[in-house]
Symmetry: C2
Subunit: 298 residues, 2 copies
DNA sequence: CGGAAATCATCGCTTTTCACGATGTCGGTC
DNA sequence: GACCGACATCGTGAAAAGCGATGATTTCCG
């Protein structure tokens, strides 16, 4: 008896609107006797009558106490309905999703994923963050694009292998593959030493290439401009080149490396052992799809 | 399964706050298995898991769906508690009351009633109205002071008999009772012809007094000023004289009438067959008490 | 004035649900 | 690997929901 029941309030409100227990029962799909008992239960919980029953064909009327219950009860029922709608919206895929992306890793994949997600779920609230802590971690994010290992208890899926290619000024190297050894002591511009970059430079070294890094920036356009200006060459993943539309640039030339470096692997991570929102699940599916399309178009 | 149950939401919120089914159960006074089943029922109604159960000593965590339910569920529970509080306040006597009063009928009784009611129930919302339709009716009022018959289905209690007295300029009549016959053709000021006034004038006529009414107004001060100015005398109920403090006025004299007129009867009315609010019930009690005190002090 | 109609309350009755205690299962810990 | 701690599940008795039938009132109408 400590608390009201929504069912009883629904019956009460229906009676107040219909003016009759029987009609309210019909509206709610109950019998008259059930509604009568529901009101009796409600009156027991609130500790007083909520209706005056004049008898005969005259309509039931709410008492002053009933008016108090009616006002608040309607609010309560409205909130209950709102909860149901919110759940339905959520299950339909609306809602909020926090996605983390680091550096330029996903300048090609992510926009497409976002657009398709928004097209499917116009009401959804997509939030992106590009924070880059020293140790990449998933934190409060729902999804995290990253090209390396992520701390914490995460699951992940590999989106694609992103091979490293050499970018140089047009004519700096003859067309076709370039041997790693030719990059030894060569001036080079490069990304800062996070993400997969240290691994890549170690792989260069293992191949006998110890380039002179003369400039580091995370901004791809700046790197490529430096290459065009003749400051040095660059070893960048294919995705970054595609994002900057390097293939169409006559002032630059792209070369495979021999032997090739181990490709950067781009993963999509999410917290392990936790239920994903429908939005997040769908985003993973879309990301895998988009990544497949991009790999296939190489 | 069409609707959530507040009980389930309470269990859900408690678990979310405690991080454990067992602790939540202890807090709510249930067993662990009961809250487990309550959550299961909730998950059935919303159609998905609301908790991730990592197993072992790690706390239960709400899923994205659970976050939606948690946010709305807290609102719902808050409204439910608000309903309970509103009911308690109502039963304690707070709330709203609409009181109707007509003309100067209650310029003596009503202020005292209001003050005592407000003292007892500081939170209450007392509304007075002095509308005067052609046919007095209770309408949406909770209480109605009136000195005559009221249309509609009402109950009433007589507050007091209010005898009519003659008011004249000091010295116009010798001290003591005045015979009705002496008022025949006398110039007189009087109230408009509503409330008990027509009955009173008929009673005058039956007693042989056919005064010349030279001025009518509902404003008592105006009437008494006219009496002082010598325009005529007035026959007014005792309450009105008391309200205007006529006894202490040396320029006026008050006389009983012989034979006396039937006293005006002042009633307090309320809608019949309807449950009264605690506030209204108490107001009736107070009004009867106050009227008794005033009659006794005559 | 008496019967018909409408309305809500009440009484058994069946089905469902609630809450409990005991037991099972799973993951982490020593 | 045995032992916790924590949640799920199962079986049981009590409580409640809901239904249909019946009863008590009141109004309406002849």
């Amino acid at each position: 008896m400590r608390d009201v029941e929504l069912r009883h309030l629904a019956a009460f409100v229906a009676i107040a609107e219909e003016g009759s227990f029987g009609r309210a029962a019909a509206r709610l799909g109950y019998t008259q006797s059930t509604v009568s008992q529901q009101v009796a239960a409600l009156e027991k919980t609130v500790g007083g009558s909520v209706f005056d029953r004049p008898g005969g064909p005259r309509p039931a009327r709410v008492t002053p106490l009933g008016a108090v219950v009616l006002e608040r009860g309607r609010e309560l029922l409205a909130r209950s309905a709102a909860l149901g709608e919110a759940v339905e919206r959520f299950k339909a895929g609306d809602g909020r999703i926090d996605i983390g992306t680091f550096q330029s890793v996903s300048s090609v994949i992510l926009p497409t994923v976002i657009r398709r997600l928004r097209d499917e779920h116009p009401g959804c609230d997509i939030r992106l963050s590009e924070e880059e802590p020293d140790t990449p971690q998933i934190g409060q994010l729902d999804l995290l694009f990253y090209d390396g290992q992520v701390d914490g208890d995460v699951e992940r899926v590999k989106l694609l292998d992103d091979p490293y290619l050499l970018v140089a000024g047009a004519g700096d190297f003859p067309d076709g593959p370039v041997r790693l050894a030719r990059l030894d002591h060569a001036p080079m511009v490069a990304w800062p030493l996070d993400c997969d970059q240290p691994e890549m430079e170690e792989a260069l070294a293992r191949g006998g290439a110890h380039p002179r890094i003369v400039f580091r920036t995370a901004v791809n356009d700046a790197l490529l401009s430096m290459v065009r200006a003749g400051l040095g060459c660059a070893v960048l993943p294919w995705l970054a080149l595609r994002g900057a539309n390097v293939e169409a640039d006559p002032t630059l030339s792209v070369h495979e490396l021999r032997p090739s470096l181990p490709a950067r692997e781009i993963y999509l991570h999410w917290p392990a052992g936790r239920t994903l929102s429908p939005l997040a699940s769908r985003a993973i599916e879309i990301a895998v799809e988009v990544a497949g399309d991009i790999s296939g178009s190489a």
